[in-house]
């Protein structure tokens, strides 16, 4: 077996061992653990307050925006990775290309910054400003 295949083979053994180990722990605790049933056993724990409604809530769209940014910037990492490993071969030509790429990327970052996509909460200063405006101070 070649060196490359050998290390893949070791990785396979390693991952199998990990899965067996972790599954074993879960199964063991299932077998060893006690069982009991009381009136409140089957209720979600929400700080001792009776749960109202489902936990399938609507949440802030901000989280969705972050996921989109992640897609943009993590895809970019793929190109940066392939450049990083070949810096010496591609030389200054490759450097110039990646510079153009980075410029595009930074303009995206600046744009997102300017439209306030990174401001996760309303800033206190903005609130004070609008109050002052309303009162005409």
């Amino acid at each position: 077996m070649s060196d490359y295949n050998l290390s893949l083979f070791y990785l396979l053994i390693y991952s199998t061992t990990v899965v067996i180990l972790v599954a074993g722990m879960i199964i063991l605790s299932y077998l060893l653990g006690g069982r009991h049933r009381e009136p409140a056993t089957g209720e979600p724990y929400e700080s001792g307050i009776l749960s109202t409604g489902s936990a399938r809530l609507r949440f802030s769209a901000q989280f969705y925006v972050i996921a989109m940014f992640f897609v943009i910037f993590d895809l970019e990492t793929v190109f940066l990775v392939s450049w990083a490993i070949s810096v010496r071969e591609t030389g200054w030509g490759g450097f110039a290309v990646i510079l153009v790429f980075l410029a595009f990327l930074l303009s995206v970052l600046v744009y997102e910054w300017r439209i306030g996509a990174f401001d996760y909460a309303v800033s206190g200063r903005e609130i004070l400003k609008s109050i002052r405006k309303a009162k005409g101070i």
Binding site: L8, Y14, G33, P44, E46, F70, A84, V87, Y120
Partner: protein, 317 residues
């Protein structure tokens, strides 16, 4: 050859898991020391067997799968959290010849596995069908994908200098100068991102106990809870050992100690730094945490990559 490989695999797994278990006790003792308390000191000498007692207790607790939860996913999530971290240890070179699977794409493999870690949080929080868990999971997912973006970029400086993704070759490239000197910015960014990936204080907002009970793992009991706990300490060990491999010369050191000893000493130093941070830093606000990542660390990581590439090219000519 094969037998040796199997011994290494078994040794790595045993060492890593017992190290993580030991850390549970070690952290409590050290935190107590910082706060002028005793900490757990009853079970065995200095309380070292506290961990054993805890593990036995966890195994005998009720393994409760909530009737309102998404059952299959609820069981899989804790398996994911431990397995994804443990898999990363496969590619780490602890000393010459001590490496479970010496992959050429070691660094990318680690990044891929740390991305998988996000799933455990999201699946666990969503499957619990508990409002606190859901909020914790959302925060956790947003935080981890944010910090993951520039965790990868901060390591590219190291890749440029070592010209390889292989962790063994990266260590060997540091023979003359540890990368923490030319790549200090990369080191700082990787360290911060690592703390966020391991969900440790000050970046433990997904499970901020003062507001979200225990965040994404509120509903987990028995060893399933233990898995999340173990995953956290494995994460601390992983990030510490990777910092050592990428920036502090891995096993390299003066010859009066064996290479593996140097690796352990350096790793333990960073683990202690992690614990010291837990003992001394407050949590930031959530919007500060996210803003800091996107507005400060991401541009800095790109700058570091760009400058490293330019310097290496100038050096070469």
């Amino acid at each position: 050859m094969t037998v040796m490989g199997l011994v290494v695999i078994a040794g790595v797994l045993a060492a890593v898991i017992s190290c993580a278990a030991f850390l549970v006790w070690f952290e409590r003792r050290l935190l107590a020391f910082f706060q002028e308390r005793y900490g757990p000191n009853r079970v065995g000498p200095f309380g070292v067997f506290q961990v054993v007692a805890d593990i036995i207790k966890l195994f005998f607790k009720e393994d409760w799968v909530p009737p309102f939860s998404d059952r299959a996913v609820f069981v899989i999530a804790p398996v994911f959290v431990v397995a994804s971290v443990l898999m990363s240890f496969a590619v780490i070179s602890f000393a010459p010849g001590i490496c479970a699977a010496d992959l050429d794409v070691g660094l990318l493999f680690f990044l891929a596995m740390s991305s998988l870690g996000v799933y455990s949080i999201v699946l666990g929080g969503w499957a619990s069908n508990n409002k606190y868990s859901l909020l914790g999971a959302l925060r956790g997912a947003a935080q981890m994908i944010t910090y993951e973006v520039f965790m990868g970029i901060s390591l590219m400086g190291v890749v440029i200098m070592a010209d390889s993704f292989n962790l063994k070759k990266i260590v060997e490239a540091q023979e003359h100068l540890w990368f923490c000197v030319p790549q200090f910015l990369g080191f700082a960014i990787f360290f911060i991102a690592g703390v966020a990936e391991a969900r440790r204080i000050p970046f433990d907002l997904p499970e901020a106990e003062s507001e979200l009970v225990a965040g994404y793992h509120s509903e987990f009991s028995s060893m399933k809870f233990g898995m999340f706990f173990l995953g956290e300490y494995l994460g601390v060990t992983l990030i510490s050992s990777l910092i050592v491999v990428f920036f502090f010369g891995g096993w390299l050191g003066p010859a009066f100690l064996p290479p593996i000893a140097w690796f352990l000493i350096k790793t333990f130093f960073f683990i202690i730094v992690f614990i010291l941070m837990r003992g001394s830093l407050p949590r930031p606000r959530y919007d500060q945490l996210m803003g800091y990542g996107w507005k400060v660390l991401l541009p800095l990581a790109l700058l570091n990559l760009f400058v490293t590439g330019a310097v290496v090219l100038v050096w070469q000519n």
